[in-house]
Symmetry: C2
DNA sequence: CGGCATCCGGGAAGATACTG
DNA sequence: CAGTATCTTCCCGGATGCCG
């Protein structure tokens, strides 16, 4: 039996280091490696398991995810926790400071959607879509209407409260909401942002509404995309 | 003589692509490669030449800088321009959209300085320091005092206006300012953020003040660093 | 199945030298 | 000064397999 090797250098701090006191450069050390920010994005609405993360990050390989999680934990951005029995599963969740990185994701996303390369019909995860609601929601467009809307994306239920301050999603069962939307995130995004007709998505069975259909019609107008460049 | 090779694939869009409609993921495609955001940072206060960039980005190699500049130009974030004669030099400058990426840098920097790994005594560039002034300036701390302060970092002169809205740096000769600071950016950062005594820096000839010394004393209090985590 | 180690191939980053 | 060419090193991604 071999002892655990101790020469493992999870990431950064080793050699490829920006020698730069600038906070932005440090931010890139902490979050700038491939996949790191997207992992944070997936954790913004609560802790997830290893395989949840793998499933939401198309193309990441298991070893890279392991390395990133180690690095983010070392930096104090996420923590690892074992759920109490009977589940006993291990989850990864953001620390308080890690949660504060959400603003970086929001600004990055808001800026990038102005690129002509942005395509809202591509696949995306539930966390991405909910974060886009937070980013793009315009209480002015909503004319101050307060609403609570439920969403079901496969096994994951969310409830989002909209008010004059913004959109507030949380992981919860969407029962008792005035309106509940069942779809996959990509479909809903194509309707909200891609202009895909609701009737089309419903006819193909890719989206189902329960409750106040007129509310859904108004909901669709609450997320103006920023103007494209040029 | 060989014809120019056309098989050059500047960056991304090739294979290593996050298949993700999320705006944040697209932002990482555009700006997430190593060095890209730091190049944007160096351009925020005006166009720079290739060798200026190389000098301000410790450790970047010429070929990588070439590749990044090509990519940023292709994406519409920067543009290449030839200065009119007699200079005739080529400079790189941000497009209007590129300038708007500054908010990403600011949020990233503000967030990252809360890490215990942040060390304000490391070397940094003039652009980094001026951006940190913009990020960290507290008009509350300045008690509404409006001031115009000049800075000279080697060959580069800047004038920064401070008012109740924020700090507004621009590239200009610092003549006629009530106060002018001559230093290198790293020295000034160690005094403003690292608590290094002014007298020490002056005694060693690393910093020189011209004009209102008392204003400098107040200036030092205008940039509260966010609290460290834990 | 969830988490992690190991090996491998390809490609990106880094260092250095060189050119107009 | 503004890059290009080349070589080396290292990281990423994919496959596989171990162990609880």
């Amino acid at each position: 039996m071999k002892l655990k090797k101790i020469t493992k250098k999870p990431q950064a701090l080793g050699k490829r280091w920006y020698h730069d006191a600038c906070g932005s450069a440090l931010g890139l050390e902490l979050l700038g490696e491939r996949w790191s920010l997207l992992i944070v994005r997936e954790l913004v609405f609560g802790g997830r398991r290893f395989s949840d993360l793998r499933g939401s990050l198309p193309g990441i390989s298991a070893n890279i995810l392991t390395i990133r999680l180690e690095g983010l934990e070392r930096f104090g951005i996420i923590r690892r926790r074992t759920l109490p029995p009977p589940s006993g599963a291990q989850i990864y969740e953001l620390t308080a400071w890690g949660y504060e990185a959400e603003v970086i994701l929001r600004e990055l996303g808001r800026w990038a959607t102005r690129s002509p390369l942005h395509d809202p019909t591509l696949p995306l995860s539930a966390a991405s879509l909910l974060m886009s609601f937070r980013t793009m929601y315009s209480s002015k467009r909503a004319k101050g209407e307060a609403a609570t809307i439920g969403f079901r994306f496969g096994a994951d239920g969310f409830v989002v409260e909209f008010d004059h301050q913004g959109a507030h999603p949380k992981r919860a069962e969407p029962q008792g909401c005035a309106l509940t939307v069942v779809a996959d995130p990509t479909t809903l995004a194509s309707v909200v942002y891609g202009g895909r007709p609701l009737a089309d998505a419903e006819a193909r069975g890719e989206l189902a509404l329960t409750g106040d259909r007129k509310l859904f019609g108004r909901f669709l107008t609450w997320f103006p995309l920023p103007e494209k460049i040029e």
